[in-house]
Symmetry: C2
Subunit: 452 residues, 2 copies
């Protein structure tokens, strides 16, 4: 080793403000539209669901937004997270590339998700809301919000996609350890859930359906708000702390990134990591290559349409201009459950559309190969979601090797795989499927677009 | 909060030497005896099993022993580990006490175990050994050694107590992710295993049996050594980095401990944390109260005899002077599998015997209560083993509250509970048993002592 293995900032060097890409985008973002009137949705339209301060952030033109002291104090439980130089992985790949990874699995919930969960719970609490609904797919987001609820004394109700609820009992138990209330979706507790169960009593659920249920319950109760773990601007804002820390840590390492990589589902982990760098690409002409790594079985950025669509299945959310496979699209059951979303964050979508971000789509077996290479050389066991970023980093490093050139590769290692061991079991026994692009399903679903 | 939430040392401030309590003990430790001759066991007796350098450390009178650069480089993957001020727990208990915890769950395997696994694998590798056997109960140690094997390119063969092998498939998978070879014990691969299976084909196994199998295989193959995850002096030595870091971190917090707590199974996590403080208690007259927290169902320190006994069931290991419940004692199946050992580290035993360390025995339900209080106030989800230390810390904090006095409580939070969710499930559903002291079994087993 030629330098430190990792850089951890001191608590006092933590960023005290979030970064808002909207201040630096070359073109203004397209507004969300009300699902019924199809007119731009204003703060009043969002008020039944979100805290006032979060709605402000959602629409804010300000470049920097202060992190409240109370949020900062809780983030310090695991932040700043370490940035590693991947000496072990470089050696395993025998590459001249320098590989760095930002390790977000140190949070109590095991991923980057609590960065926004804490902030969202805090603003709701501050505005007198003591009850929040949400949805969760693989369980990362649900457990993060349950953690936030236990830290800030807020009741959390979670609609968990039924297939995950049944297959991932340990995530459910983690949510209960933090006093969260979790039920399988579709459920009999909402109109959306009942309608779907009437048609298909065995429906395995989807993220889109679970969002419909959580939104419906929040909209129908005065004492309850709703919380989303990705996609929206304020969620991406809260995650910007990842990239802000990484920038400072790379300065301490004394190297400049050539390539920056994050996995992409709804967009929060990717954007949180990449946007602070993207800012310099836009405003300072930095030549970073910024890559969003998505699953080939749910390829919204690479194969979706850039169009207005609903964020959920039932059409209850505002319409957003984004890369979407259509809100009816049900992705195959890949193991990276956190990447199974039909749409994408509007801000990420626009940056892809305008050519600042390169999306790539990956098959899951190759991602698990990369995850195992990583685990055996760097120790940490990756979540299937994170393995998509690792796969791209490995490919980049091998490309550098072929060219015989140094290349500085930095990726966001968004979470650990401790609750995904059943997926690793399938990989080891060779039972893992490697879904191709679900062409027919995509074509069918895209045919319904644009919604307006 | 009145100060930082946690203190993380810089890599360059990491201790570069391990601390050896043997240099400061008021009385020399009793020597291990050869299992057959009953004479003091010398280096030659241990040579078939252990690397030469480890045998030297086992018997070393030196106070400080250098950490090899190569070991140091790997430890840096997760060390230095953070020391937290438990502001959340203090608030939840409404106590005037200041509570601190050292967080060892940040290692890739999720506990303190890799601290010695890396060192042991390194010395074996250096001496030309490319294959190591070991045993594992709950799986913490087995996964730590598999991790070390993958980092240092050594083949690892693990005998895993059958009941854990069957009930904890995820730990087994973690071991496989690091390329470890894991089989259930008792097995048909050793004389010890075959003899037991002949008598009882459904034998659920025990740590003592698994040790016998791993030792037998290592002793019978020239290319193979054996590795133990606790009990022995050199293992405790490698773990001293925990307490050394903690001392520096407490200095930065600017407070002096009144009480120091570690959970106790074989003794490595307790000793690693406590011995550097114990040194000052012996040599500088510090007034620390040092508490070893053990399970009431396997109370070797509080109810065992201080006598020579075998480390394993079959009587293949050297005899050690230690607190023991008898090598035939099979503890009830509590969820803190890592604390289910009939004996105790000889060095810890001697310190208990001479009055420097206070042992306490705890029932598991109370420990899980404390674990949940902790998870809901500090976020991190404890391993059942660690919950024993947390329970004592909580009791100490409540005692301070009753007295209306400040008290500085520091405990070692040895690992996370991500692979113990099935235990939490039993706790939540009320199905968890709360074993009393297994009096009759202890009496029966103690009757066989002293062995000499």
């Amino acid at each position: 080793m030629t330098g430190p293995r990792k850089v951890i900032l001191d608590e006092k060097d933590l960023p005290r403000q979030w970064y808002n890409l909207m201040a630096d985008m070359p073109n203004p973002p397209a507004p969300p539209l009300h699902p019924l009137t199809r007119q731009p949705a204003g703060p009043a339209d969002l008020a039944p669901l979100f805290a006032e301060e979060l709605i402000k952030q959602e629409m804010s033109p300000d470049r920097w937004i202060d992190i409240p002291e109370e949020v900062f104090d809780i983030l310090k439980l695991w932040r700043p997270s370490p940035l590693y130089r991947a000496y072990g992985l470089e050696k395993a790949l025998d590459t001249p590339a320098h590989i760095y990874y930002k390790w977000e699995g140190v949070s109590p919930a095991g991923s980057h998700k609590p960065n926004t969960a804490i902030a969202q719970a805090y603003y709701n609490k501050k505005e007198g809301i003591n009850r929040i609904t949400t949805e969760t797919g693989a369980g990362q987001w649900g457990s993060a919000l349950a953690l936030a609820g236990s830290m800030l004394d807020i009741e959390i109700k979670i609609y968990m996609v039924r297939v995950s609820f049944d297959q991932k009992p340990y995530r459910k138990l983690m949510i209960e350890a933090w006093n969260g209330n979790v039920i399988p979706s579709p459920s009999m507790e909402t109109n959306a859930g009942r309608a779907i169960l009437a048609k298909d009593p065995d429906c395995p659920g989807s993220l889109g359906i679970a969002i419909s249920e959580a939104v419906e319950e929040a909209a129908s109760r005065d004492d309850t708000h709703y919380s989303l773990g990705s996609v929206l601007n304020h969620v991406l804002l809260h995650q910007s702390i990842i990239g802000l820390e990484t920038k400072r840590q790379m300065e301490i390492f004394g190297e400049k990134p050539d390539v920056l990589i994050g996995c992409h589902g709804g967009g929060s982990n990717f954007a949180g990591f990449a946007f602070p760098f993207l800012a310099d690409k836009i405003t300072k002409g930095e030549k970073y290559r910024i890559i969003a790594a998505e699953p080939a079985s749910c390829p919204s950025l690479t194969r979706g349409k850039y169009a207005y669509d609903f964020g959920d299945t039932a059409g209850m959310t505002p319409l957003m201009q984004m890369h979407t496979l259509g809100h009816d699209f049900i992705p195959p059951s890949i193991h990276a459950g956190g990447l199974r979303y039909h749409g994408a964050a509007p801000l990420v979508s626009q940056m892809v559309h305008e050519g600042y971000v390169d999306p790539v789509a990956l098959h899951q077996k190759g991602c698990f190969d990369a995850a195992i290479t990583f685990a055996r050389s760097e120790g940490f066991l990756p979540a299937p979601e994170s393995s998509h970023a690792i796969k791209v980093a490995v490919d980049q490093a091998l490309e550098a090797k072929k060219e015989g050139r140094q290349r500085n590769i930095v990726f966001n290692f968004s979470g650990h795989g401790h609750f995904d061991m059943a997926s690793y079991a399938k990989y080891f026994t060779g039972e893992m499927e490697d879904f191709a692009y679900p062409d027919e399903a995509i074509q069918r679903s895209l045919a319904g677009l644009p919604v307006i």
